[in-house]
């Protein structure tokens, strides 16, 4: 789907051709891909002269939405024409949830309800997604007017930040940002003020879980002022031991300082702990580890009903087995794709119909049996 013309807004572009290929972050490539599933950079920006989204009237929000849409679809980058624009207040729940599952926007943005309790499904808001690889998404009228996100597989915060800065400059070339010499880029919540930059990595930490050291690492992360969240961000669970680690401080440190801390100090340290834990498991408790992995494969090969959390737990064990050479016949991309496709909305999109919870469990088990297990050995 190409950039839509101003006069002909797309109302429901998702069902036609979007997301037929895998997002870049699912490919399992990049540095430290055995532990780092993906890297994400997010910039929060607001337009000068307008109240922040939670305080903005419907008219304000409509104006912000239109100004941002015009600006994003008229950028001069080589990728500008590949942005797909979606007016979220005009699409159905299925499509909004699909975007959340694909990590292209927050759950809060899908609901349109802000943390203040204001807003709702019909609030003017949107998201621009770079297709086909989905490495860029820009949320409009979330808690801040613009939230620009770059997501890539493996440990790739440097390249994510470079691309985010390039797009940020492109957008700023056509609109004034709210900025203060002392507080930097102004945001609705003062926790994001300054650089407005959030650097996150999605880590897979089953080794630390199995050796009982996960809580120690979590506490160390908190001590370093980092946030630890689940697979779908704030307030979500971490089935399969997938954790998002991100900076909380955004004022007083430049983008480069935050990047260096995260990419050269913090993440390599956690990756080192996880690798050490996996090595210890192989050296001292290999039978136990193999047993857990092969029990998981046994269930994945044979189950007829599967909950999403259960699928993520078992796929997590297959992932660590593949990374340690204990399982063959499966790639990281296959595992990551399944982790996404077992999610409720993806299952329904694949089958093209709405399913009950029980039907989803049947469909999930069947999908895994078909797509994952035939080649496993």
């Amino acid at each position: 789907m190409q950039a839509s013309d101003d006069a002909q807004p797309e109302t429901n572009p998702l069902r036609e051709s979007a997301f037929t290929r895998n997002a870049e972050w699912l490919r399992g490539l990049g540095e430290s891909n055995d532990v780092v599933m993906s890297s994400r950079v997010r910039l929060a920006r607001n337009i000068s002269g307008f109240p922040f989204t939670p305080q903005a009237s419907r008219i304000d929000r409509t104006q912000v939405l239109e100004a941002c849409r015009h600006r994003i679809l008229n950028m001069t980058t080589s990728t500008a024409s590949q942005f797909m624009w979606i007016n979220l207040h005009q699409v159905g729940r299925e499509d909004r949830n699909l975007l959340v599952e694909r990590q292209l926007m927050s759950r809060q943005h899908a609901k349109g309800k802000l943390s203040t309790g204001k807003g709702g499904l019909d609030e003017p808001r949107g998201v621009a997604v770079l297709v086909p690889d989905e490495r860029v998404s820009i949320m409009i009228n979330e808690e801040d007017h613009l939230r620009l996100q770059i997501i890539r597989s493996g440990l790739a915060l440097t390249s994510c930040l470079a691309e985010a800065n390039e797009l940020d400059d492109q957008i700023e070339a056509g609109m004034d940002y709210a900025y203060h010499p002392r507080f930097g880029y102004l945001t609705a919540c003062p926790t994001n003020v300054g650089t407005g930059l959030r650097l996150s990595v999605m880590l897979h930490l089953p080794g630390l879980k199995l050796t009982g050291e996960l809580e120690k690492v979590r506490r160390a992360a908190h001590d370093m002022g980092l946030a630890v969240r689940g697979f779908y961000g704030e307030g979500s669970d971490s089935p399969g031991e997938f954790y998002q680690l991100s900076n909380q401080t955004t004022l007083g440190k430049s983008d480069e300082m935050l990047l260096r801390e995260m990419e050269q100090e913090i993440v390599p340290r956690v990756v080192g702990y996880e690798r050490h834990a996996r090595k210890n498991l192989i050296a001292n408790r290999k039978e136990m580890l193999e047993d857990q992995i092969w029990r998981a494969i046994g269930v994945l090969k044979n189950a007829r009903l599967m909950k999403v959390e259960e699928a993520m737990e078992y796929l997590s064990l297959v992932r660590v087995g593949a990374m340690l050479g204990l399982v063959e016949g499966v790639t990281l991309e296959q595992i990551h794709t399944l982790l996404l496709h077992v999610q409720p909305m993806h299952l329904q999109k694949t089958l093209g119909k709405t399913l009950t919870q029980q039907q989803r469990r049947v469909a999930r088990a069947e999908l895994i049996r078909k797509q994952l297990t035939p080649d496993l050995s």
């Binding site: 943390s115 808690e143 203060h180 002392r182 926790t191 650089t195 002022g225 401080t249 260096r260």
Partner: protein, 222 residues
């Protein structure tokens, strides 16, 4: 160091800067800290702290999970009396009370209207960071310099005095990084100092009428 009670080791160290810029230090054990309404548990997300009205009012209430004493038995410190209890943002109508409730500011002007009150809170939430370091909106700055728009330049970079203060802060941080042998951090702070000084220098070229003051400031920072 012993707590003020003289019985246990002090593990909570509180520094309060009073309105006349004097430092008041207190050193407490966890038990005394809880009694005085300070939560010694460090594992509280910043977002929770920011949206906590008690935090904003300068009093951190005890966590309900506090193992020693139930919440009802921990008298909070007396609230700090606001100088402007009904202060309202002229830009959006947001009140300070509204901010305390939601943790969200209403518009860019709120940062200026409530600057005195949210400044210390922001500093605490950002591990002592009180001044932005890093990127400045690129096009806005270039345009302001080309058009010799002094007001706009000040709005982006701060006035000469504010810039000098920021440079001083960076110099102190640089010296500390070198002292602590954190050389990579020091290199980045040095780059930031150079960048900030060069931004001021560009302005000198663009605005000769302000050159006298600006030259003084950049000379001091080089």
């Amino acid at each position: 160091m012993l707590c003020e009670c003289g019985q246990y080791e002090a593990t909570i160290h509180e520094v309060i800067i009073t309105s006349d810029k004097k430092k008041v230090e207190r050193h407490l054990c966890e038990k005394c800290a809880r009694k005085q309404g300070i939560n010694p548990d460090p594992y509280v997300p910043i977002s929770e702290l920011m949206s906590s009205s008690s935090y904003i009012m300068g009093q951190i209430s005890s966590s309900p999970e506090s193992p020693d004493e139930p919440l009802s038995q921990t008298p909070p410190r007396p609230p700090v009396k606001s100088k402007h209890p009904t202060q309202t943002c002229v830009g959006c109508g947001q009140t300070f009370g509204g901010f305390k409730k939601s943790g969200l500011l209403g518009c860019p002007a709120c940062y200026q209207i409530f600057e005195d009150r949210i400044g210390p809170m922001i500093e605490r939430a950002h591990e002592g960071g009180c001044n932005h370091v890093g990127k400045v909106p690129k096009r806005a700055l270039c345009e302001s310099q080309l058009n010799k728009d002094d007001n706009r330049i000040d709005a982006l970079l701060g006035n000469i005095k504010q810039r000098e203060e920021r440079l001083d802060t960076l110099r102190i941080r640089l010296a500390k990084s070198i002292h602590d042998e954190e050389y990579e951090q020091a290199a980045m702070l040095r780059d930031e100092l150079t960048r900030l000084t060069s931004l001021a220098s560009s302005e000198i070229e663009a605005t000769p009428n302000r050159s006298a003051n600006a030259k003084d400031s950049t000379a001091a920072s080089s």
